[in-house]
Amino acid sequence: MNNKFLKAGFAIVLVAAFFSSCKPKNSGDVVSGDAAQKAYVAPGKYDEFYNFVSGGFSGQVSVYGLPSGRLLRVVPVFSVDPQSGYGYSEETKPMLNTSHGFVPWDDQHHVEMSQTNGEVDGRWLFANANNTPRIARLDLKTFRTTEIIELPNSAGNHSSPFITENTEYVVAGTRFSVPPDNAKGDVPINTYKENFKGYLSFVKVGKAGEMDIAFQIEAPGVNFDLSHAGKGKSHGWFFFSCYNTEQANTLLEVNASQKDKDFIMAVNWKKAEEYVKAGKGKKVTTKYAHNVYDEKTHSAKSEIRTEVLVLSAKELKDICYMIPCPKSPHGCDVDPTGEYIVGSGKLAALIPVFSFDKLQNAIKNKQFDGNYDGIPVIKYEAALHGEVQKPGLGPLHTEFDGKGNAYTTFFVSSEVVKWDIKSLKVLDRVPTYYSVGHLCIPGGDSRKPFGKYLIAYNKITKDRYLPTGPELAQSAQIFDISGDKMQLILDFPTIGEPHYAQAAPADLIRNNGQLKFYKIEDNNNPFATKGEKESKVIRKGNRVDVYMTSIRSHFAPDNIEGIKVGDEVYFHVTNLEQDWDVPHGFAIKGADNAELLIMPGETCTLKWIPKKVGIVPFYCTDFCSALHQEMQGYVRVSPAGSSVPLTFSLGTNVPASK
């Protein structure tokens, strides 16, 4: 009996073993031995690289140090930032002006650093706004947004702000094709094929960084997704991936995935320049905002422009060429030599790599396969260098290490795959946690990559950190790629949703002439107060201008009486400090906007409309000194029509002595 039961038990164990023997164990996320050492930057020591990371739906750009993953700063770009007063202060409100009026938020996807001779030069960082199409330029001396230009005739500026190798142009595109601005836009949506167009904008970048739309190319109505400029031998060309060549206008997830191949559009922008010179462009009326921040006045000005030059890709036959690319291409990346163009069909199970030389030959020998809406389609094989076979599932983006290797992210199979550009052989693969989107190697899309680290920006975080309710931070992961094999060394959470990022050697930016504070004598803000004695309060009708100063640890004036309900009060606060890292804040009770954070030597203005009678305190919000808590003042608000005279003082408004 016993024996029988033993045997039966044995059999059950066997069956159980059978079921569990097949199931692969979770390979887990074991970080090998020296990872901590590789990512460790001792307190007080500097990181090797600056990492500029797009903020996605936060609208901002965050700055991290590599390899430590330490957050250094969040630079407000397309979204208002109550903590610094960006978009709330009178000086910065014009930065967010558009042809639609003031837009307080955007979706910031990609960043690109300025380049000289194809190498990152540490002057500026460009950032795109996807929702209300714009490009911003950040000055890397001040880490401030100094210019924003709106793109007309566009919607969904996704394939932006990629630049040419000497920062001649920064481009913008149209992910959601729409009827052009000056056309009658009131058309049935299902007339997409006739009425919708995809515009590409070439924005000229001047010596001081100033942006100006040089020309736009009118292309067929498809979804332009990503882009990169040619470099080296392919300098003079730009490559844009596009999907929805089916021209669907509804349920795109199905209807825009039908064709086996969509396109990468190659744009000969040098040729386009010639046509512009030859007067082949059409001037088209439209409306777009151009906002510039002046460092001397600490103020932005917004100007609405009304004209743009448009070249037709259909009529000017040799500007644009379509290269077939499998299955809804997303990433469109050019290797450091400029010879290889990598298209990543996000639904494809292979990666096509195109050759610039072959492309030129194909164009010369007219190896075309018909045309797409008037644009020649090059034969797939004629431009193809080769395909990376079985690389993974859902390829998205590729960066380069400058040693002949490419690194491609795979969203669906959640991994980064390293492969050889020439032989197209897969060399290594590492899992990411989870579902990686973009990746960044310092200088990884330039002619001179610094192939030491690779950062993967993941779309899904799930169980990687302590839980924080339904909404979780997104995550980045740093890999050491200096050896043959990629090695995970650090995870760090990010601001918003990180899309593309750029990184540059720290010295390039640290030594670019970083501004430590604004010189008070150079402060040309019309409302600046350059000494306590100049502080004053002036009433003109119901507008009251308060010329206020702040210095450790008081405001001047700090007692103001004679303000009436319904007045428009402007606090122009000048920080008189002339030392590094002594900002002062300014906040007033009941203000319906935000605070001001004023850098040394700077003047900022907060508008305040008192609604209630009473005494209203204001104070400094940035812990500036040992007596920071004493840095405060009062405003007396009287009823509208009251006869309390306007007075202001510092230190003199004391109780009457008996």
Binding site: K4, K7, A8, F10, A11, I12, L14, V15, A17, F18, F19, S21, C22, K23, P24, K25, N26, S27, G28, D29, V30, S32, E253, V254, S257, Q258, L347, A349, L393, V412, S413, S414, E415, K425, P431, T432, Y433, Y434, S435, I460, K462, D463, D484, K485
Partner: protein, 347 residues
């Protein structure tokens, strides 16, 4: 099944009390199984670390049905709905019937009846398996040609039982609690049948130990994805040192538990690789048989020699052969000493 037919014809007598008690348990198991899921298909993908599960009850589909339907729409698989499967209306009655049948047998206590119950349940099991396979096939192959992701030649049929990789998802199909109850019921019925027909005594004359060991062997090597992938000489590169594999006497290969293969030009390269990638779980190690040309043999059954005049490509100095005779022969020829697989792994 054949041995059971003989006793059916011969025996119609009453069953023992022990069998009656077991039958009562069987009946209870049948009824209880109705309130538990019968089968589960677990799905795992990198971005679903917590896993997704589809649970098949006797009367409904449960688990993460909505999420799985949402994912399946990318590949154009039909969405799963309980009402699309007539089985879910019939199955509860079938299990109820078996439960009542077993209960009835406690009272009727006819040996023949018990055997009929067992055989009909066995038949049901086979039919259910066929039916399950048919549905799996139907859903895995009948894909919307307009789906967003179409991988040529790819079908998404989950395994009937066991593990299978489907794109980025690993699918793992096994019985759930209710299913295990039915398995237990089947086993108990089997025991009753054996006991009542004295089958054990009839078989005992033959030794069943080898059969058990065969079963154990099958269990341990049940995963087909552990099979060695042939190395292409001068075409495949070593996954550790990067050099092309040129000598079919020293090469090695690992198959990871996920079914990926990594090839090496030297046994030591394989060991170094597995050390550096300790996170990768290895399913099987293979080494070249030194006595032959480019023949891979499982490392855990091979005989190893080390040192002497062995000159392997990366100076690992280790060779493997498939049997002891060869080991002795090459040991003398090359002046090499035997070494165990464990010792090599710990090198």
């Amino acid at each position: 099944m054949f041995p059971f037919f003989i006793p059916i014809v011969m025996n119609t007598s009453k069953i023992s009390l022990f069998s009656k008690v077991l039958l009562l348990v069987v009946s209870a198991l049948f009824f209880a199984s109705l309130s538990f899921p019968m089968w589960r298909i677990e799905l795992e993908a990198p971005q679903y670390p917590e896993g997704l599960v589809l649970q098949l009850h006797a009367n409904k589909i449960a688990g993460d049905v909505a999420i799985i339907n949402g994912l399946n729409h990318y590949i154009g698989m039909k969405t799963l709905h309980t009402e699309d499967f007539p089985e879910f209306t019939i199955l509860p009655y079938i299990f109820g019937f078996f439960g009542l049948f077993a209960l009835a047998m406690v009272f009727i206590a006819k040996r023949k009846g018990v055997i009929i119950l067992f055989l009909s349940f066995l038949l049901f099991g086979v039919l259910a398996g066929v039916d399950f396979y048919r549905w799996n096939y139907e859903y895995g192959h009948n894909l919307n040609p307009n789906a967003a992701i179409v991988v040529p030649g790819m079908a998404y049929q989950p395994p009937l039982i066991g593990y299978k990789q489907l794109l980025n998802f690993g699918a793992y199909s096994i019985p759930d609690i209710g299913g295990w109850m039915l398995v237990a019921a089947g086993l108990l019925l089997f025991i009753i049948v054996i006991k009542e027909t004295n089958l054990l005594k009839k078989i005992k004359k033959q030794n069943i130990q080898p059969a058990l060991f065969l079963l154990l062997f099958l269990t341990l090597f049940s995963c087909a994805n552990d099979k060695a992938v042939p190395i292409k000489m001068n075409a495949d590169n070593c996954d550790f040192c990067g050099m092309s594999i040129a000598d079919g006497k020293f090469a090695a290969e690992v198959i990871t538990e996920k079914g990926r293969d990594y090839k090496f030009d030297d046994i030591l390269c394989m060991i170094h690789y597995t050390k550096e990638n300790s996170a990768t779980k290895i399913g099987a190690y293979y080494v070249n048989d030194f006595a032959k040309d480019n023949v891979l043999i499982p490392a855990n059954t091979a005989f190893f020699l080390s040192g002497g005049t062995i000159q392997s490509p990366m100076r690992g100095g280790i060779i493997a052969v498939s049997n002891e005779v060869d080991a002795k022969e090459f040991g003398t020829k090359l002046n090499a000493k035997p070494i165990t697989w464990e010792a090599i792994l710990n090198k």
